[in-house]
């Protein structure tokens, strides 16, 4: 083979150096699509033996429609399930767009309009843009909100989507995190987000350190959980300055504007 009859290979074609990614992003859907998809997912997954058609009649589980359920409560229970009941956490069981869609749907049954917090945001202010970069900071050393929060189709969905943005930095630090429990397993005690707890075993996020660890315990292991924890949201904000946190809040507000 001589040098003249071979083509130059653009380096970018070399898949062996550069990982290949799926071309389609699977993220939350726009509001009306989300409602439609949510109704479908609800019909196939939640209605039937449990919440009844359109959530109107509880069969083996509570009625969901028209009960004025708190949006955050809906998110939490759909994502993580209800401890001590048959309601599983769907956060890890359904694809992200479906979980998000079904949450939107159940909220709509309780009078919460389907707002867009997933569509491309309106133009962000310079401060909000700075906040966005800090939220997803890929260069920083684990000081990123996106290790636990997924917003606009980016981030790790450890917790449910952010709905109420605190008004200020003190509000962000003193956020009520009643969904964090205390888990006791084999002499270990740690703050936990329960994902599922059933006769098949327990799945939970261990929040001891960043990043959180999804730990699974078979039914043969006794996992005791109790409500509340000494864990505080402020413990994971320490690497951000107040100024940076203000920008992050501005970003979240910018994203949430309908």
């Amino acid at each position: 083979m001589t040098r003249t009859n071979v083509m130059m290979i653009p380096a970018a074609l070399l898949g062996f150096f550069i990982p290949t990614f799926a071309s389609a992003q699977l993220g939350p859907l726009p509001p009306q699509q989300a409602l439609k998809r949510g109704a479908e997912v609800f019909a196939s997954t939640c209605a039937g033996y449990c919440h009844g058609d359109n959530g109107a009649v509880g069969t083996s589980a509570p009625r969901l429609a028209g009960r004025g359920l708190d949006p955050q409560y809906i998110e939490r229970v759909v994502m993580y399930g209800a401890a001590g009941t048959l309601m599983p956490g769907w956060g890890q069981k359904l694809p992200v767009p479906d979980v998000s869609a079904v949450i939107t749907y159940v909220k709509s049954l309780n009078g919460v309009p389907a707002l867009s917090n997933t569509a491309p945001p309106p133009s962000l202010s310079p401060e909000a843009q700075r906040g966005r970069d800090l939220f997803y900071d890929a260069v920083g050393e684990l000081k990123t909100c996106s290790n636990c929060h997924r917003v606009n189709d980016k981030g790790v969905a450890v917790v449910s989507q952010i709905v109420n943005v605190p008004v200020d930095v003190p509000g962000l630090s003193s956020l009520v995190t009643s969904h964090v429990s205390t888990a006791r397993v084999n002499g270990e005690t740690f703050p936990a987000l329960i994902v599922t707890q059933s006769r098949d075993g327990t799945k939970l996020y261990d929040l001891t350190k960043v990043p959180p660890v999804l730990r699974s315990f078979p039914s043969s292991v006794v996992v005791k959980t109790s409500d509340g924890s000494s864990w505080r949201h402020s413990s994971v904000l320490g690497t951000y300055s107040d100024d940076e946190l203000r920008s992050i809040l501005e970003f979240l507000r910018g994203v949430q504007r309908p």
């Binding site: 040098r3 898949g15 260069v139 996106s146 290790n147 001891t208 959180p212």
Partner: protein, 556 residues
């Protein structure tokens, strides 16, 4: 009194018999002393490179130079995933073989190939699974790193998830893991791709992060000044292969890849630490003990990521604790692994022109840097003097067995906006004075670099080498032949057509008292690129099959 004497005599006699039995058993296994015990595998193949000293050498010699001709396939296992071939190294513990393919994990009966369990990893939305180099096994768990930057621990018995952690947010940083994790005591250590490469240790029991080392120092950290402006932010420095570990020094050694853009240095002036470096990290804390940068300010896409063999050898009349790396640049680097001091650097390929040489201080002499928008012939090319496929080291011969590639690049470089993310494009070419590229598997004295014998081959040798106490050196070629050479002479003793190109890392182990040799087969896209220089490459087959050999049952 008399009874007590008898009891003492009995204990002494038993003790002596026990020691004798132990010694003869050790001799049967080809033992050459304590260091060989640490560096060699026995019945199991417990870690990625055999042991954490990375010799890819087994003490087994049931299969040896005298009976290799009788070797036959015992069983095959097809992973069903042919996208990237089978590039992972199996692990074997107590007769169970653990194999990853993409981000699937299989547990197989090592004697029969029967599937015990299978785990299928589900990537996060938008991500796909990718090439995976293998798992680590220990503490009752199988550990795997994934292309979307997760580390997962599975129960060895059931394949069920025990814990799973997003080491990083893939959707933001496009981080990812393909190297096999390294198990060091109670920690599982992984190298991860990212805007800044990172090496992280997780608690093997809980998955909690114990420490993290960024391969590109951040602002205010020593070494950050080796990057112009903000270029450190996307410096890369991918620690994309597995490290080694010395339990006596309690040091983890990890090789770091190149900088971004790989071929174009303008904008990232400086030595670009810790790209192209060997790092020695404290296993407990992840703190940097020392580093050795092989290629300051790389513009040729070399890597210092390859395996690092840890061996104790005499140098100038003094026993030294050494680290030997046959690096992508075509140079072997021999370092003192206690201090990071350079003992020797020598080229192990015949065609090197990116430098005139490397002096005793490790300084690159006469750098031949590609000129913007012009074609420059660079040797070795960016597949390297060797690719990531690993060498082996036999303590019986004292030689390393190294797959060397003689291939160059016609390299044309420029800004990424014009030339893409690597800042260049290239064509594989023959070394000057040769009609085409070629390769050779050499037996080399790892300290002096003196070649003992050479096995020439007309194409590339892209599979790892396995050496055993049966004085066998084994590897496979892209045409599909898996073959065995005499470790002392290089004579070919046996070969077998496996059906597809070999790009993996063969291993050996015992199951049910019988020695097996497991060979991952299936060619790979990077190999397909070489059709530009070898038209025959179009006929090298893809696949993803583990082909496992043993002697016939009656010859145990």
């Amino acid at each position: 009194m008399r009874r007590r004497n008898l009891a003492v005599l009995f204990l002494i006699t038993t003790g002596i018999l026990f020691l004798l039995a132990k010694r003869s058993s050790a001799q049967r296994q080809g033992d050459l002393g304590p260091q060989s015990q640490r560096g060699a595998t026995g019945a199991d193949w417990p870690s990625h490179y055999g042991t954490n000293l990375a010799w890819r050498y087994s003490n087994l010699f049931q299969i040896n130079t005298a009976n290799i001709k009788r070797l036959l396939p015992a069983w095959n296992f097809q992973t069903g995933d042919y996208q990237v071939g089978l590039q992972s190294t199996p692990i074997v513990i107590d007769g169970v073989l653990y194999l990853s393919a993409m981000d699937d994990v299989f547990a197989l009966d090592g004697a029969t190939g029967r599937l015990i369990w299978q785990y299928k990893y589900q990537p996060v939305p938008g991500a796909t699974v990718g090439r995976n180099f293998g798992v680590a096994v220990g503490d009752g768990k199988v550990f795997i790193g994934t292309a979307d930057a997760h580390v997962v621990a599975l129960d060895t018995k059931t394949g069920q998830e025990v814990w799973k952690v997003a080491a990083d947010d893939w959707s933001s940083c496009r981080c990812g893991i393909q190297a096999a994790p390294l198990l060091v005591k109670d920690k599982i250590i992984v190298g991860e791709r990212g805007p800044r490469g990172r090496i992280s240790a997780f608690n093997a029991r809980t998955g909690q992060l114990e420490w993290r080392f960024y391969t590109i120092p951040g602002p205010g950290e020593k070494g950050n000044e080796s990057w112009a402006g903000d270029s450190w932010k996307n410096g890369n420095g991918n620690p994309w292969m597995t490290g080694s570990y010395d339990s006596e020094l309690n040091l983890v050694y990890w090789g770091v890849g190149d900088s971004t853009p790989a071929f174009y240095g303008a904008g990232r002036e400086g030595s670009n630490l810790y790209t192209e470096s060997v790092l020695a990290l404290d296993a407990e804390t992840g703190k940097l003990r020392w580093y050795y940068q092989e290629i300051p300010h790389d513009v040729w896409d070399y890597d210092a990521g390859w395996e690092m063999m840890l061996m104790d050898r005499e140098v100038s009349g003094r026993m030294r604790k050494l680290l030997v790396q046959f690096a992508k640049s075509g140079f072997a680097f021999v370092l003192d692994r206690e201090t990071g001091e350079l003992v020797k650097a020598y080229p192990y390929v015949d065609n090197v022109n990116f430098v005139k040489g490397i002096n005793e201080k490790g300084e690159l002499q006469g750098r031949n840097e590609p000129v913007e928008d012009e074609v420059t012939l660079i040797c070795p090319g960016n597949i390297g003097g060797s690719s990531w496929n690993q060498s082996a080291y036999s303590p019986r011969t004292g030689w390393a067995y190294v797959p060397a590639l003689e291939m160059c690049n016609d390299l044309k470089v420029g800004p990424p906006a014009k030339y893409g993310g690597m800042g260049g494009s290239f064509v594989f070419n023959a070394p000057p004075g040769h009609a085409t590229a070629y390769s050779h598997l050499d037996a080399v004295d790892p300290v002096t670099g003196k070649r003992q014998w050479t096995y020439p081959y007309k194409f590339e040798l892209f599979a790892s080498i396995l050496a055993t106490a049966g004085d066998l050196v084994m590897t496979g070629d892209p045409e599909g032949y898996f073959f065995a050479l005499d470790a002392r002479t290089g004579n070919k003793l046996w070969s077998f057509q496996t059906g597809a190109g070999n790009r993996g890392s063969p291993i050996t182990y015992i199951a049910g008292g019988r020695q097996y040799i497991a060979v991952p087969t299936g060619w790979t896209q990077v190999g397909d690129l070489t059709t530009g220089i070898w038209p025959e490459a179009a006929t090298w087959r893809h696949g993803s099959t583990l082909v496992v050999f043993a002697l016939p049952e009656d010859s145990k």
